[in-house]
């Protein structure tokens, strides 16, 4: 379903992704793990047509995201690391706009919005403004919205960041169920190793822009001689803390906090 071959992405003198290759099979849940700044989000942005690779080849459902942007965009749904809902609109309105942007016919849009909001336990709040939602509800709504146009691949970039254990547990249960019910391929990133261990069929670990290991959780543990995925991850990527420079989004969040005060 996804094929990444020798992909490189540089920003000026910085190489964010360095000769990365991996495949994701149709219908599997694939976890893409790595420390901060390892290149996870950059890879997702390239696969979702937001960035062009400097070199190498990408494929999603047999199509090149750099040359067939529109066709590729119809085939995936995405939940970004930062929220991308409109907080000043209702849950229903957010779903509806998404449906129009993806050319989902009105009747199907309504039926599917209803089904997805019910599945993600948001139906009763459909007419409420998103800004009144909790973090977990917003994340559930983003996933529901990402599935509205029946994508073949769902990208989840750290979808459980900042959520309490109950919300995380509920979200992964829903994702797992969706994967089974609709056969949607899931490509996820997370810093919670227990989540990856629990839901992912296969895992790729990226560090300093390079893939350092690929396999199932059991295979990674066996390869590193460890008992948990977290230990395997630390063995593969080391224990040095990675610092990321603040992005513009981080700075905006800071401004937002000051304004709220």
């Amino acid at each position: 379903m996804i094929r990444v071959q020798h992909v490189v992405k540089t920003f000026g003198k910085v190489t964010a992704v360095n000769d990365v290759s991996f495949d994701v099979r149709a219908g599997e849940i694939f976890a893409f793990l790595g420390p901060n700044g390892a290149g996870k989000t950059t890879t997702i942005k390239m696969l979702t047509t937001l960035l062009h690779p400097t070199s190498g080849a990408l494929e999603l459902d047999g199509l090149d995201p750099t040359t067939h942007q529109t066709e590729v965009r119809r085939r995936f749904g995405v939940v970004f690391q930062d929220p991308s809902l409109d907080s000043d609109l209702t849950a229903w309105e957010n779903m509806d706009i998404h449906g129009v942007l993806y050319h989902v016919p009105r009747q199907i849009r309504r039926e599917r919005s209803q089904a997805l909001l019910a599945m993600f336990e948001l139906w009763d709040r459909r007419q409420d403004l998103v800004k009144t939602f909790s973090g977990g509800m917003k994340r559930r709504l983003e996933i529901a919205r990402g599935l509205l146009h029946t994508p073949k691949v769902l990208f989840l970039d750290e979808p459980t960041l900042g959520l309490d254990p109950q919300s995380r547990n509920q979200m992964w249960t829903l994702v797992r169920n969706l994967n089974k019910a609709e056969g949607v391929t899931v490509f996820l990133t997370t810093h919670y190793m227990d989540e990856a261990d629990r839901v992912a069929d296969r895992i790729a670990v990226i560090d300093h822009g390079r893939i350092v290991a690929t396999g199932s959780s059991a295979e990674l543990k066996q390869r590193t001689g460890t008992d948990s995925l977290e230990e395997a991850f630390l063995k593969l990527t080391g224990t040095t803390i990675r610092d990321e420079s603040a992005t513009a989004a981080d700075q905006m969040r800071q401004v937002s906090r000051v304004w709220r005060r």
């Binding site: 979702t48 529109t70 991308s84 809902l85 409109d86 000043d88 129009v100 942007l101 993806y102 700075q251």
Partner: protein, 248 residues
Amino acid sequence: MNVVYVLWLREVKKYLRSRVQIVASLGSPLMYLGVLGFGLGPVFQRAGEGKYLQFMAPGVIGMTVLFTAMFSGIAMLWDRQFGFLKETLVAPVPRLLIMIGRTLGGATVAVLQGTLIFVVTLIAGFRPASLLAVPLAFLVIALIAVIFSALATAIGSSIKEMQGFQMVMNFLVMPLFFLSGAIYPLEGLPRVLTALTRIDPLTYGVDGVRGLLIGRTHFGVTLDVGVLLAVGVLFVMFGAWRFSKIEA
């Protein structure tokens, strides 16, 4: 067209739901009308220029439209960093349609805000020379709104930080307003200032609105509308080009 419509509707809904924004945006125009309109009125009248409120009301409407349209650029910056813009950027629709929807939405909000200020000026004592010309004046107001909403889209597409927009407000928006002849007549200005007023699109907008509402125009309404149309096309193309270059 559905895409343009939903994105336009989104901007309008957000505006109508934000009562605080509506009330807050009345602050500056009311201050200009109250302090300048009544403060400078006697001086203006003694200089033989007639009632200052009559002269400056079209300028304050133009200012409101300029500021509101330019603020749609801030909204876009907000959306871009941690909001809704990414959702639209990965959608299987041409970016041109997204840009047009956003720009028309921002322009509509600016016209609505301009309408509100028009009503306020009427309450303050402003009287249009002809009621029949009011709808035509609003067509010019709509042109001003599209021009600066498109410019805001271009700027919002080009800068990534809120601080950058502060610079735009200080070094672009305020000069655009003060050089437009909104609060003083264009006749008898120093040569440099005259040249600067000529390259400010808002000058033609304010002159056109003033010409239609009170019959006093410097360039003639036809020339005003011609310049506004030309600048409008240019700015929409510029906005579309900058928007097409956004990388999330």
